[in-house]
Amino acid sequence: MWNRRIFLRAGGLALFSVGVGPRFLDRLALAADSTGRPKTLVSIFQRGAMDALMAVPPLDQEAELGKLRPRLAMSAARSTGGHVIDLNQRFGLHPAFAPLLPLWTDGRLAVVHGVGSPNPTRSHFDAQDYMETGTPFRKGTPSGWLNRVASRVAATSPFSAVSITPELPRSLYGDSPALAVADLADLELRLREPRKLVTRTREHLEVLYEEGTEGLLENRGGAMFDALRLISRQEIDAYRSERGAAYPSSKLGQSLLQIAYLIKAGVGLRIACAESEGWDTHVSQGTLHGPFARQASDLARSIAAFWNDIEAFHDDVVVLTMTEFGRTVKENGSGGTDHGHGSCLFALGNQVDGGQVYGKVPVLERENLFEGRDLPVSTDFRAVFSEVTGRLFDLARDETIFPGWDGSRLPLLW
């Protein structure tokens, strides 16, 4: 547990400060508590299962894709008015992901293709569970993989693991304290007029929760009042992104905005979770426009704005996307795609060896496909998760984080 005494001493002073950067002393204490600059993983779960073949299509199989999914076919060939972005002659990028292109060109964004779970389930619920517990064949695993990472990272702050979602995601279930909140501005004590009684009540509560540091409630209560001193509603409301970074007004965009705030506030954030919902494109998936393009655009614009906003922290932050499975290679009868198997993911950071597509996409012929219909899984998601958190947080062994997995990491980070 972190040393709360430091905060208590600093707290009185911090209460007087106003404006940007007021909780300076507290945050300084927090920084002093850790060794080196803290690293942060930002995990984005794309719920619903992203169609990897539309996100990052194999360019050399355009003709084949045109036959398998005529209503979803897109082309990179400029001569025929194609719109797909050519990444490296072998793979393309759906045009809605264009905001990510500069990051790819800079070598900071990597794609892992054919990634997924060894479990063949096509149920969203099961597959998300398996991915978030990190145990693809065991549902009963009580904790989530990110919580197990958190317990290995010397977490010193009430903000060390935060999910900007109304409910704690399965990946953060577990013994290590993790905070889920839909909006950081909710982190205030809701005392209202009159001022005198507000002040008194707050002081009494603080004393009651800080007395007898042995008890669980008192211990956690102390941390809570520390957290309230670390961030403030006014500061959150007043927060503006830097460098003109324009976040979408979507849930994901606003979550990433708040994560950027926490990173810059220096409150010891190590693991941050955000979610992107609506990738389950069974009907009229569209090409240049439509549900897929909308999702892709929101994801790309959110990540690009976030990255732009946190420029000073590029060495310390990695963004990792994930989705529970991929979608069928063939389109279905409603101009969409159904639940499949392998998908793809993005990893972004200065530490990422980017500008490359990792993993494999086979020739899209029946015999190469999983159960004759889906993109096969050539990279176990744990090979990526383990690599990213292992490198970022300097965690050597994986048995506690991915019990029962003895595969090797996919070399992805410097």
Binding site: P120, S123, H124, F125, D126, D129, T133, F137, R138, K139, G140, T141, P142, P158, F159, P166, E167, L168, R170, Y173, D175, P177, A178, L179, A180, V181, D186, L187, L189, R190, L191, R192, P194, K196, L197, R200, T201, E203, H204, L205, V207, L208, Y209, E211, G215, L216, L217, E218, R220, G221, A223, M224, A227, L228, E371
Partner: protein, 634 residues
């Protein structure tokens, strides 16, 4: 399966159940609570003991309830709780506003269709809309007309989205906790639901949750563990949640149905001339089923339920089973399923319409539960060293449940879990051993186990520390009870419970919510708890009304200290108010709360001002008490 064999097996099962029930009811009736609740031994007063009893076995005390329990006698109160059936008229009146509560599973599934698709399907089947019109194949105007017709159809048929069902499920839980007189049943329903957790995050289980709690959990929480286990094992909620509905003997294995068919093939038409006729429908079904198996749509055994059944529901993680047992139990439970959704339901019902024939072929239908002989793995199995002979049907699964329920690891696992829930997070081994003894002597009679628990001095030693942290649900329910609140709409309270970290019926893992204070008190959750108390005290939790002035007996509350002194015994009866009064008193002595007004006011204005100030003191005192660490404990 020959009917004779089946009848014998059934009789054996029934006999066992009746025998247990008889033992259980005798035990309670004979004792008539001559048993002793050992509160005196730990130095409590009777009122303190009554308050503790209400904190641990009920959702806290309502105003005057401590007195009522003392008057009734603590033992009698507990005995009444063990009898269970005391919902109370206040609750029943509230529940009438929730139509789903009383509906049969099938009607629930019809009305609260799994998202929109289900409603469309029914509307098409009823001829209310044309499928092509709705799909937009005949232009925009006909599409719009179809959409309007669909809405009319949904309204006429009283059909609603499944989110509405979840809302009612959550609402009834809160209403029962606040208003039911059967408080112990509600505490135990919460405990056992969480033990056999099924989550609304699983879309296929969502529509089954209400009947699951109502039919599989609540009626059995004071019965035997075996009954409870069996009820959950046959419920569509559990079977779909843990994937057993998709668990099918692999194509290379012979099913029980195949065996019966082979036997039939051997019969010459002369021996039983009607057999072929009677079996025509089932034969059709077999052809369909064989096609599915050939296509690979039925994928084989799913081990999820089998594993959780042993690890979570019965033996416990170190309960002495192996991966081999998991596979064997999974095979024993193949075919335990429910009706498939949509059009397939009708097909299966048609195939099994001749119930006698279906039963002869090994099928079992009981409400929404179906045992499908055509999915059941017929090879011999061995579970925890006990052989299960080849060629059987549902008996395999029933035997497995018997074995698991009677296993010593199960007794230990659940005795300990109950002790954690009702006594403390690290229960003393002697207490657990005593509960295990009762469990084993009574064959897992949960009423007897609860009696042993309440008679244990280890429980009563916890009264002083009150170390158990309330779950967010308990926190909200106990606050509403203590304030004698009138709930007109539970929705906002339920949202608060979610924000405090316990979205009801939506814990995503089959483990259920962890029963540790740590799990409820991270920074965000704890802050939400405080804020719930603060908002509630200001009457800013919508749908909930209470009258603080009435609760204070219309006393004029001149200071915060006075107000705390009045409300403390209501919110935390018989608990020590010393520290908080000292704190409030010290601060009060230093500075008066409000500066005196400059103008000498009129008499009427003074009275109004006094009322306003009194109300303010009341609200802040209640806020402080609800948000205090003490109120977080039970």
């Amino acid at each position: 399966m020959r009917p004779a064999t089946r009848a014998i097996l059934l009789a054996a099962v029934l006999h066992a159940a009746v025998f247990h029930a008889a033992v259980a009811s005798c035990a309670v009736a004979e004792d008539a609570w001559s048993r002793e609740i050992p509160w005196r031994q730990v130095g409590l007063t009777e009122r303190q003991a009554a308050a503790f009893l209400l904190d641990r076995f009920a959702h806290g005390a309502r105003p005057g309830e401590v007195d009522a329990v003392v008057e009734q006698g603590l033992g009698n109160w507990f005995q009444g709780q063990l009898a269970g059936d005391l919902p109370g008229s206040r609750l029943l009146a509230k529940l009438t506003t929730l139509p789903a509560v009383a509906l049969e599973p099938r009607e629930l599934a019809r009305r609260y269709s799994y998202r929109k698709r289900g409603i469309v399907r029914q509307a098409v089947a009823a001829g209310a809309i044309s499928k092509d019109d709705y799909a937009g194949k005949h232009g925009k105007r006909r599409l719009q007309a179809a959409v309007a017709a669909l809405e009319r159809f949904a309204a006429e048929q009283e059909m609603r989205p499944d989110s509405d069902l979840l809302e009612q499920l959550r609402a009834q839980k809160l209403l029962r906790a606040v208003y039911s007189e059967s408080q112990l049943v509600e505490m135990l329903t919460d405990f056992w639901f969480n033990h056999f957790n099924v989550s609304a995050t699983s879309l296929h289980s969502k529509v089954h949750l209400l009947p699951y709690e109502r039919d599989a959990i609540r009626p059995h929480v004071l019965g035997t563990f075996r009954e409870l286990l069996g009820a959950t094992a046959r419920h569509p909620a559990m079977l779909s949640y843990l994937g057993n509905t998709r668990s099918v003997a692999e194509a290379r294995f012979i099913t029980t149905f195949d065996l019966e068919m082979r036997e039939l093939d051997r019969l010459s038409p002369l021996e039983d001339p009607t057999a072929r006729l009677r079996l025509a429908k089932l034969l059709g079904w077999r052809r369909h089923h064989q096609r599915l198996r050939a296509k690979g749509s039925l994928r084989g055994v799913n081990e999820n339920y089998a594993r959780e059944l042993m690890e979570l529901h019965t033996l416990g993680v170190d309960g002495g089973y192996s991966q081999r047992d998991v596979v064997q139990v999974a095979r024993a439970l193949t075919g335990w399923t429910t009706f498939p959704p949509g059009g397939y339901r009708a097909r299966l019902e048609k195939a099994l319409a001749d119930t006698d024939t279906a039963a002869d072929m090994g099928f079992v239908i009981e409400g929404e539960f179906v045992f499908r002989a055509d999915h059941h793995h017929s090879e011999p199995k061995t579970v925890l060293g006990s052989p299960l002979p080849a060629g059987r049907g549902i008996e395999d699964g029933e035997d497995v449940l018997d074995l698991l329920a009677a296993h010593p690891s199960t007794a230990h696992h659940l005795a300990r879990k109950l002790a954690v829930r009702f006594v403390r997070e690290d229960p003393p081994p002697e207490l657990v051993a005593r509960l295990v003894r009762t469990w084993e002597l009574t064959g897992g009679d949960l009423r007897e186990v609860m009696s042993t628990l309440v008679e244990s001095p280890e429980l009563w030693r916890e009264a002083a520390a009150r170390a158990k942290v309330k779950t967010p649900f308990e926190l909200a329910a106990s606050a509403l009870r203590a304030l004698d609140a009138e709930i007109s709409d539970p929705e906002q309270t339920i949202q608060w419970i979610g924000r405090m970290g316990q979205p009801l019926y939506a814990y995503g893992a089959p483990t259920g919510y962890p029963d540790r204070g740590e799990a409820w008190t991270d920074v965000g959750q704890l802050l939400a708890r405080l804020n719930f108390g603060l908002d509630l005290a200001r009457s800013e939790v919508g749908g909930v009304a209470f009258d603080l002035a009435r609760l204070a007996g219309r006393e004029d509350l001149k200071s915060l200290e006075q107000a705390v002194a009045v409300y403390h015994p209501l919110l935390m009866p018989e608990r020590d108010a010393g520290r908080i009064l000292e704190l409030v008193g010290d601060a009060g002595a230093e500075s008066p709360i409000e500066p005196p007004s400059v103008e000498p006011p009129s008499a009427g204005a003074t009275e109004l001002e006094a009322q306003r100030r009194s109300a303010q003191h009341a609200s802040f005192a209640v806020a402080l008490l609800l948000a205090s660490p003490d109120f977080q404990r039970r």
